[in-house]
């Protein structure tokens, strides 16, 4: 699978509190509403300008901090398809896989990508291509890709439960 998108580039150590503030965690429950608060305390202009298909590019430890899944959900709802980062917080990485937001760890590509440029990601070849060149990233494990391909953990579970009910 190959796709491309416009990039939003951010720095190191962007935490879940600035991606989706804690004060909303028990009051904002509608997913579309979550998208309106995406990156609110990091980049106040993001939520209004983001387009479906956009890609987040980030430095080290993107999404560190809280386990709050809304920090993934708000970006997915805004139409973001992938995170290309130097490293990703571990619970954020899990939430991204489970919500089918593609987490790609590729430090060389992050250094090369300019904010706003359109990049392409080739999942079969495990590469990120930007104006400066093409960069490889380590493939995600088959079990992780199976979750993403299914549309996320819950979708995979729904299919499994349906199969068991028929079985």
């Amino acid at each position: 699978m190959k796709f491309s998108g416009r990039t939003w580039k951010y720095g190191d150590n962007v935490n879940t509190d600035v991606i989706f503030p804690g004060k909303y965690t028990y009051t904002v429950t509608d997913k579309r509403e979550m998208a309106k608060h995406a990156l609110e305390d990091l980049d106040a202009g993001f939520a209004k300008a983001v387009q479906p298909g956009d890609i987040i590019v980030a430095g080290t430890n993107w999404g560190n901090g809280s386990s709050r899944e809304q920090a993934v959900t708000c970006l997915r709802q805004a139409g973001v398809t992938a995170i290309v980062a130097k490293s990703i917080g571990r619970i954020y990485f899990r939430n991204a896989v489970n919500d089918a937001l593609l987490p790609i760890v590729c430090p060389a590509a992050v250094d090369a990508i300019e904010h706003g440029e359109v990049i392409s990601i080739d999942l079969a070849e495990h590469t990120v291509t930007c104006a400066a060149g093409t960069f490889s990233f380590p493939p995600l494990s088959p079990s992780v890709m199976a979750i993403i391909d299914a549309g996320g953990l819950l979708e995979m579970l729904r299919k499994r439960l349906a199969a068991e009910a028929q079985g």
């Binding site: 429950t29 899990r94 992780v144």
Partner: protein, 420 residues
């Protein structure tokens, strides 16, 4: 069988396998699945799967702690949904508003035991490493999946080992050690790792001080953290444990990605500067920074010995004009003991205010949200921008005694410098 780390052994046990190796992905069955105020959102996801009953309701533990007592109608509605779920599913390990913070309450109730695995929809589930359990944070969707299937995919982490030696200087705490490690190696220094601790300086710590360490390792990026349980842990659990347990210890010769030795005798009281837990300096370097709010509480440093350290500083002293001191015990048990010990009276006489046991303002829900431009010094674990609910407020992290001394003077202060 090759020698294994704690994480490799614990996840082998949780997955029903004879052995695992770092990097392997396993389907683990947790002994306990923890959630809190987020239970309502998880329940909505769970029911959307078309399932009516949780597979093993006896494995669930649910605590109302993140916004208690409910500050708004929406929060109250959220709590009402959690209570309804508890009733529908017959969840026995359920704890009401005011009982305390999930990690503290489950520790007091001995709901997780050495060698067991707890997965929690809370990033500080690493906490349970204090008694030699495997504790890791997960997301809300995966918690719904655990309720439905009793299992979850987990990658067996590589391990970093920290050997702690030397004698603890007066006024230096486990919090200072954690800030030192994170300051040295960065907030992502432990990313994806299992963090094992060992050594005489670790075993010299009280159980309450030990709890600080795996709790803080969430801020280091860790998947889980482990302290080897000793006789003090077994004695603590003896009157509480509901079933037998088998502690797990790493094998000699297990593979570590890196081993570090820290001499605690070289440590001094530290603070983390806004807005990064790894921007760590000695208290002396920021001495004189004005603070409007001092907060002692949270799952990191809201226990009896933390309140004892603060009360020792506050005894016979007053909170400075222009500064407020907020104290929120980590649990009702801590509050009760603090009343019995006279600490609460000391705090009230000093001009402090006391909040309902729970998370308080740690993640900005209520009960101590700062105004824009204000500075808070806190005993919590996290000082991200906006963390306490206000984007343009500054947050310093320190040990409870440093927070208390700062409340007395109105600026960041090492308690050793207070006049006798």
């Amino acid at each position: 069988m090759p020698p294994m780390t704690f994480a490799e052994k614990a996840l082998a046990r949780a997955a029903g396998l004879p052995a695992t190796v770092a990097g392997q992905i396993v389907d683990a069955r947790p002994d306990i699945a923890l959630s809190h105020d987020n239970t309502a959102a998880i329940a909505r996801t769970f029911y959307s799967l078309g399932i009516k009953k949780v597979k093993h309701p006896e494995r669930l533990a649910i605590t109302l702690d993140h916004a208690v007592p409910a500050p708004t109608t929406q929060h109250a509605q959220n709590h009402a949904e959690v209570r309804q779920f508890v009733l529908e599913q017959g969840v026995q390990h359920a704890f009401e508003v005011g009982r305390g913070i999930c990690h503290q309450v489950l520790s007091e109730e001995a709901i997780v035991l050495p060698g067991e695995t707890i997965l929690g929809a809370d990033s500080h589930t690493t906490h349970f490493g204090w008694l030699g359990a495997f504790g890791a944070g997960v997301g809300r969707s995966e918690m719904a999946a655990i309720w439905a299937t009793d299992e979850l995919w987990l990658r067996v982490p590589e391990t970093l080992k920290f050997q702690l030696v030397g004698d603890w200087p007066a006024g230096v705490t486990a919090k200072d050690l954690c800030l030192r490690i994170i300051g040295d190696l960065g907030a992502d220094g432990g990313l994806y790792y299992s963090i094992e601790f060992a050594g005489p300086a670790l075993m010299a710590l009280s159980l309450e001080s030990r709890m600080v360490i795996p709790n803080m390792m969430a801020e280091f990026g860790a998947k889980n953290s482990y302290l080897p349980p000793d006789q003090a842990v077994f004695d603590y659990l003896a009157p509480k444990a509901r079933h037998p347990y088998t502690p797990l210890y790493p094998d000699a010769g297990a593979t570590y990605a890196e081993t570090y030795t820290y001499d605690v005798s070289q440590l001094e009281p530290l603070v983390a500067l806004p807005h990064r837990v790894d921007k760590v300096v000695p208290v002396s370097q920021v001495r004189g920074t004005r603070v409007q709010q001092a907060f002692i509480g949270t799952c990191t440093n809201g226990r009896l010995e933390d309140l004892a350290a603060a009360a020792e500083v506050m005894k016979g002293r007053q909170v400075a004009a222009g500064t407020r001191l907020l104290i929120i015990p980590a649990s009702s048990e801590v509050l009760k003991a603090a009343i019995q010990q006279g600490y609460i009276q000391t705090f009230l006489e000093a001009g402090a205010t006391i909040g309902t046991p729970g998370c308080g303002p740690c993640m900005g829900n209520h009960m101590g949200v700062p105004a824009p431009g204000e500075v808070t010094i806190s005993s919590a674990n996290r000082n991200f921008q906006g963390r306490m609910g206000t984007r343009d407020a500054e947050l310093y992290l320190a040990s409870p005694a440093v927070v208390a001394a700062s409340a007395v003077t109105g600026y960041i202060t090492n308690p050793a410098e207070l006049e006798k």
